[in-house]
Subunit: 364 residues, 3 copies
C-alpha cells in the first residue's frame, strides 16, 4: 500500500485520480450535465489507465518472462477494451467500431509520430532495432486485410448481406486471435532473441504481488464505472462541440484510451530509447486489431443486444490501411529524425480534419 | 523410355498417373457423375503436371542456358494455361478469370507462405538472395496495375463500356507480353549474374532429348483431355459441395494447377534453398500475370466464342493487389522465419474464407 | 546580356526561342487555327521553361545556399504553375486538376523511369544516395493521402457535398503548405548534410545577378502570354486528334510543363549522376503536390471565377497513389539497372493507354 502511495506521490499524472470520485459523485448529482460529465470522465480515465498499466507491469514482473510478456501483451489495452465493452453493452456499435479503427490509427500515426518528433527535437538522428516494429507492422497489415474483407463483401451482396457478413466476421475473428497467439509464441518464445527485451518497466521499487493484483482488479472496476459515464455523455457532449460521432470515436475515445501508453512512449523517445516507443505504439495498434477487435465481435454474441460484425465504413478501412502501410514503410529504415515524426502527424491531422469536417449524421 | 519409367518408380507422386486412364474411362462410362469425375480429374492432373514440369526441364537442360531458361519460363505454367484454354473454349469466362487471379494469389501467398513455414519449422532463420524475388515482385506489381486499369474504366463508362474495355484489354495484353519479354532479356541475358542460376533441376540422370520432347507433347495432350473433364465437372461438383464459382476458380483450380510446382518449392525450402522456393513462387505468379493472362486475352479473339477482356471483379483486383504488395514487402528483407510464412498463410486463409462465405450466384 | 546570348548559342534547345514571337504573331493572324497554335505554343513553352530554370538557378547561386535552395525549390515548377494559373483564370478546372495529377504521375513515373533507362543503357548498374529520394517520396505519399481525403468524402455526402469539400480543401491546402515549409527547413537547414548538395547547376560562367533577375521576370511574362494561347488551343486541338480532356491534361500538359527539367534529369543520368535525376524527378513531383496544388486552391478564392477544391476523379487518385508508392518502392534500394526504368515506363504507358482509350466526354 505504501508503494502504491509513493507511486502516486512521484507521478503527477496520478494526482488526477482525484477526478475519479468527483465524476462518480457528479453523475449522481447532475446526470444531465453531459458536457461536464464528459470532461470529468476523460480526466478520470487518464490516470486510471496509467495506474492500470503500472499494475499490469508489476504483476508481469513477478510472473517471469514468458507469462509476464503474455500478461503485458494481453492487458496492455485493457482500458480500450473496457471502454469498448461498455459501449457494446449500450448498443453503440458505431462508437465501438470507430474507437477500434481510431485506436489503430491513433497508435500507429499519432503515438509513433509524436514519439519521433519529441525524440528528434532532442537528438539529431535516432537509430532503433527494427525487429519489433517489423513483426508488429506485419501483424497489423494482416489484420487490416481482415478488416477489408467484410467491407468488400458488403458492396456485393444485398440480399443475404447481414448473415454473410456475420458468418465472415466470426471466421475472421477466430483467424485473428489464432494469428495473435502465434505472434506471441514467436516473439516471446521461439524467436525472442530477435526482440530486444527491454520492457516498459523502469528500475522502480517492485510492488508486492498482492498489491499489484489488488490494484489491477480494483482499478478495472473503477475504469468500468467511469467508462459507463464516459460512453453515456460522449455523444451528447460531441453534439455540443459540433463533432460528428465518427470524429468522437475515432479521435477522442482513441486518444483518451491510449493516454497512459503515450506518456510512456513519449518519455522513452526523449530518453533515446526509440525501440520502446516503436514497440509500444505498433504493439498497441496490432493488439487492438488482432485481439481487442475479434474479442469484441465474439463477446457481442454473448452479451450484446445483437451481434456485431467486422464491417467498417469505407473511409475507416482506407484510414486504417494507410496508417498500417505508412507505419511499416517508416519503421522499415530503423532511423528517425524530427521530420519523420512530423510527416506521420500530418497524415494524422489530414484524417482528423476530414472526420471533423464531415457533418454529424452523415454516413461516415 | 527406361529413364521415364525409373523416374516414375522413384517419384511416388507419379504413381498417381494411374488415375489418368481411370478418369478417361469413367467419363465415357458415367458422364453425369460430376463429383466423382471432378475428384478423379484432380487426382489425374496433379501427376501429369509434375511429369510436364520434369519434361520441360529435361528439354531445357539439353538446349543450353538461354533457350532453356526461356523454355522453363514459358512452359512453366503450361498446366494452368491448358486448363484455362479449355475453360475459354467452353465459354466459361468467369472460371478463366477467377483461375488467373487465383493462381497469382495462390502462388504469391500460399506457395510462398507454406515454403517459409515448412523451411522455418526446420531452420531457425533462413537467408536468401533477394534479386530474383525483387525482379519478380516488381513485374508482378506492374501487372496488377494493368489488371486494375480496365476495372477502373468499367465503373466510368456504361454506354460504350464493352468496346472500350476490349480495346484497352488488347493494348494492355500487348504491353504485358512486351514487359515479360524484356524481363526475360534482363534476367537471362543482360543481368543474369544477379540471379543465382540454381535451376529447379537436381542432379538427376538426364533424359534423352527425344524422350523429353515426346513426353512433353504426349503429356500436353493428356492434360488437355483431362482438363476438359475437369472444367465440365468442376462447376457441378462445386454446387454439390456448396462452393461459389469464385471459390472454385480462385482456390481449387489454382491449387490443382500449381500442385507440381508446390512440391518442388516446398522440398527446396526443407533443404534450406529458399532462393529457389521464392523464385518458383513469385516467378510463377508473375508469369501468370504477364504471360498466361494476356495470351488468353489474345487467344480469345482467335478461338473463343467471344472476346475476353482483362476486367476482373473488384474483390479479385483487391486480392491480387494485396498479394503482390505483401509478397514484395515480405521478400524485401531476404530473411525468413516460420512466423513470416504463417502470416502469408493467414492472409490466404482470409481470402479463401471470404470467397467461401460469399453465396454462389452472387456477383463475386 | 552577352552571357545570355552565349547560353543561347551553346544550348540548341534555346534556338527554339524563335517560336515565341512566331506563336504570338500567329495568334493575332489566325486566332482559329487551334491545332497550329497548339503545336506552336508547345514549341515555344519548352525553351522558355528551360530559360526560366536557368535563370532561377543563376539567381539561386548568387543568393547563397539556404535562400538559393528555397528559390530553386519554390520556382522550380514555375512553368507548371503559370500554365495552371492561366487555366484557372479561364475556368478550366478539369484541365487544372488533370495537369496537377498528371504532373505528379509524369514526374514520378516517366521522368524517373526514363532517367533509369537512359542511365542503365550506358552503365550496367548505377548506385545513388537514397536520402533525397526518401524525403521526397515520403512527402509525396503524405500529399497523396491529402488528395485521397476529399474524394473519399465526396462519395459520402451529397446534400452539403460541395460546401464540405471546399472547407476540407482549404484546410488540407494549409496543411500541405506547412508540411512543404517544414520539409524545406529539414532538407535545407536542420539536416542538410543528409542530402548530397550537388545542385542542378553545372560549372558554367555565372550570370550577373541583374541579368538573372531580369531574365526571370521577362521570361515569366512570356510564359504567361504563351500559356494563354496554349490553354485556349489545347482542348480544341485535342478534339482534332481524338484525345479526351483527361488525356490532354494528364499527359500532354504535364510533359510540356516538365520538358526543361527532363532535359536536365536525363543528361544527369547519362553522366552517372543518378542522385540528381532522382532528386529532380521526385522533388518536382512532391513540389507539385505540396506547393503548386494548394497554392492553386487558395488562389482560386482570390482570382478564379469560383473556388476550386482538391477533389480529383477516382482514377486520378488511384494513378497518383500507385505512382507515389511505386516511386518510393523503387528508389528504396538505391540501385538501378535499365529494366527498373523500363518497368516504370510500362506503368506510365498503362496509365496513358487507359486515359487515351477513355472516350472524350466521359466522366473521367
Amino acid at each position: 500500500m505504501g508503494s502504491l502511495l509513493s507511486e502516486i506521490r512521484r507521478n503527477p499524472l496520478l494526482w488526477m485520480l482525484a477526478f475519479v470520485p468527483i465524476v462518480l459523485i457528479a453523475e449522481k448529482a447532475a446526470p444531465d450535465a453531459h458536457t461536464a460529465l464528459f470532461v470529468l470522465a476523460v480526466l478520470a480515465i487518464v490516470p486510471l489507465a496509467a495506474l492500470l498499466s503500472h499494475a499490469t507491469e508489476a504483476v508481469a514482473e513477478k510472473t517471469g518472462d514468458a507469462v509476464g510478456g503474455l500478461l503485458n501483451a494481453t492487458l496492455g489495452n485493457l482500458t480500450e477494451l473496457i471502454i469498448a465493452v461498455t459501449a457494446l453493452h449500450a448498443g453503440q456499435y458505431m462508437l465501438v467500431k470507430a474507437s477500434i479503427a481510431g485506436a489503430i490509427v491513433t497508435n500507429s500515426l499519432f503515438m509513433l509520430g509524436a514519439s519521433f518528433l519529441l525524440g528528434g527535437l532532442k537528438y539529431h538522428v535516432q537509430e532503433y532495432n527494427r525487429a519489433g516494429g517489423r513483426l508488429q507492422s506485419g501483424l497489423l497489415l494482416m489484420a487490416t486485410v481482415a478488416l477489408l474483407a467484410p467491407s468488400a463483401v458488403a458492396d456485393l451482396d444485398l440480399a443475404h448481406g447481414e448473415v454473410v457478413t456475420q458468418k465472415l466476421s466470426i471466421g475472421l475473428a477466430v483467424l485473428l486471435i489464432i494469428a495473435y497467439a502465434l505472434g506471441l509464441l514467436f516473439s516471446l518464445k521461439t524467436h525472442k532473441e530477435l526482440f530486444a527485451s527491454e520492457q516498459h518497466g523502469e528500475a522502480e521499487a517492485p510492488w508486492p504481488i498482492g498489491l499489484a493484483i489488488g490494484t489491477l482488479l480494483g482499478v478495472t472496476v473503477l475504469v468500468a464505472l467511469v467508462s459507463e459515464i464516459f460512453v453515456e455523455s460522449v455523444q451528447k457532449a460531441a453534439e455540443t462541440f459540433g463533432m460528428s460521432p465518427a470524429f468522437v470515436g475515432f479521435i477522442i475515445v482513441a486518444l483518451v484510451g491510449a493516454a497512459a501508453e503515450m506518456a510512456v512512449a513519449f518519455s522513452a523517445a526523449r530518453k533515446n530509447r526509440l525501440d520502446m516507443s516503436v514497440s509500444i505504439a505498433l504493439g498497441s495498434a496490432s493488439q487492438i486489431a488482432l485481439f481487442v477487435a475479434p474479442v469484441l465481435v465474439l463477446l457481442s454474441y454473448v452479451t450484446g443486444p445483437k451481434p456485431m460484425d467486422l464491417q467498417f465504413w469505407p473511409g475507416a478501412v482506407t484510414m486504417v490501411m494507410v496508417s498500417a502501410l505508412t507505419a511499416s514503410f517508416i519503421t522499415n529504415s530503423g532511423r528517425s529524425a524530427w521530420f519523420i515524426g512530423a510527416l506521420l502527424l500530418f497524415i494524422y491531422a489530414i484524417f482528423a480534419l476530414t472526420l471533423y469536417v464531415v457533418p454529424p449524421g452523415s454516413a461516415a
